[in-house]
């Protein structure tokens, strides 16, 4: 994404279940700005929702959205739950196994794990308009 065209939105929210609908609503609002379709919005919301569910329910999480032309790049973290990194970076799950990795593979266009301070991780999710 050309830096000049990218706008950034940063949100820090509790991981508690009660705040998940708020996060979904905000993602919907951001995705609407880049004209994502209903299903694309739903995909991105699901990706973040599943990731946060894997991250636990205590503390808070930082979500950063880089919004470009038909693209949303989301960074979630730093997260303490390093098992997420193993789940996302390990070998591809065999057919028929429904893991977090398979869910992300299906609903976003790319994802990755970046290292943060204190051994924590940041998960990157990228969703493009009109690709899937």
């Amino acid at each position: 994404m050309p830096a000049a065209l990218v706008q950034q939105i940063v949100l820090e929210a509790p991981l508690a279940d009660a705040f998940q609908p708020v996060i979904r609503l905000i993602i919907g609002g951001i995705a609407e700005r880049v004209d994502f379709g209903f299903e694309e919005i739903d995909d991105l919301q699901l990706a973040v929702e599943r990731l946060l569910a894997a991250a636990g329910a205590e503390g808070s999480v930082r979500l950063s959205f880089e919004v470009g032309d038909g693209t949303i790049r989301t960074h979630v973290g730093p997260l303490r739950e390093t098992a997420i990194a193993e789940a996302l970076q390990g070998p591809a799950p065999p057919p028929g196994e429904l893991t977090l990795r398979r869910i992300l593979q299906t609903v976003v266009d790319s994802f990755g794990v970046e290292e943060a301070a204190d051994g924590r991780i940041v998960v990157r999710l990228e969703k493009l308009k009109g690709v899937r």
Binding site: P21, R24, L25, G28, G29, A31, E32, D35, F36, G37, F38, E39, E40, I41, D42, L46, E49, R50, A53, A54, P93, P94, P95, G96, E97, L98, T99, R102, I103, T106, R132
Partner: protein, 254 residues
């Protein structure tokens, strides 16, 4: 959902067929008879559900709640009763629907305008998907419904929070039969998983229809629109079932 043969309420032959099926289920444990009873009486559920349409919840969601009442009625029916199954099931179905509205607190917590917007959303998405041959944007849905994108987003969120009941949420018990059990024929691929660290054990406990929807989405990679066509539900409903199923699986592992 399979087509259900036309039958008139009060038809003595239909009533006798019901009793034969009830006997097969209650005395012989024949779950296929139970499935047939469910299917035979789904038109009754639909008819009763229609009375509660327009109260802020999609008709198909109300029908699904009503189907739970039907299943309970079939399970609780005592063969010594002189009443027909339809007569016995009616208050069960209506009671289940009323309980649903009461428990969800929809009417008191959600502004009426938002309820109505949510109820009309599913149809609008279906119409636009056909018209545009793709999933509509929020702006397009808003235009179709003559409202703002923000209100559409809010109504969608309200719907996903309040409409999580599955047709498969029947009475508790491991060998419950899903009313849409017939959709579960293709789930063998998912069931092969032996990795206990993955979600497979929880997946096994999902109803057949939900397993099948997850398989189509995450194994075949089908978009929600195609899944919706295959299983005969709205795209919004497929979306909710996917979310709910994944959340249920996660909760079971927690």
């Amino acid at each position: 959902m399979r087509a259900t043969s036309e039958r008139r309420p009060g038809d003595p032959r239909a009533r006798e067929q019901d009793r034969v099926l009830l006997r097969r289920y209650h005395e012989g444990g024949d779950t296929s008879a139970r499935a047939e009873l469910i299917e035979r009486h789904l038109p009754l559920v639909r008819s009763l559900a229609r009375r509660y349409a327009g109260r802020g919840e999609a008709l198909e969601d109300i029908e699904q709640v009503g189907a739970i009442g039907l299943i309970k009625a079939i399970d609780r029916f005592e063969l010594s009763r002189e009443v027909s199954l339809a007569t016995y099931a009616t208050p069960n179905v209506v009671g289940e629907i009323k309980r649903h509205f009461r428990d969800k607190g929809w009417a008191i917590r959600v502004p009426r305008a938002l309820q109505e917007l949510n109820a009309s959303m599913s149809g609008a998405i279906e119409r636009l998907t056909v018209r545009l041959s793709r999933s509509p944007s929020i702006g397009e849905i808003a235009e179709e419904l003559k409202t703002t994108p923000e209100e559409v987003l809010e109504a969608l969120e309200v719907g996903s929070a309040y409409s999580t009941v599955s047709l498969s949420s029947g009475p508790a018990g491991e060998d419950e039969l899903d009313p849409l059990e017939t959709l579960g024929a293709e789930d063998a691929e998912f069931e092969r998983s032996e990795d206990r660290a993955a979600l497979a054990p929880a997946l096994d406990r999902l109803p057949a229809r939900e397993r099948e929807i997850l398989r189509m989405r995450f194994e075949e990679g089908l978009p929600q629109t195609q899944i919706a066509q295959r299983v005969g539900l709205s795209q919004m409903h497929v979306s909710r079932l996917i979310r709910k199923s994944l959340a249920t699986m996660r909760d079971e592992l927690a």
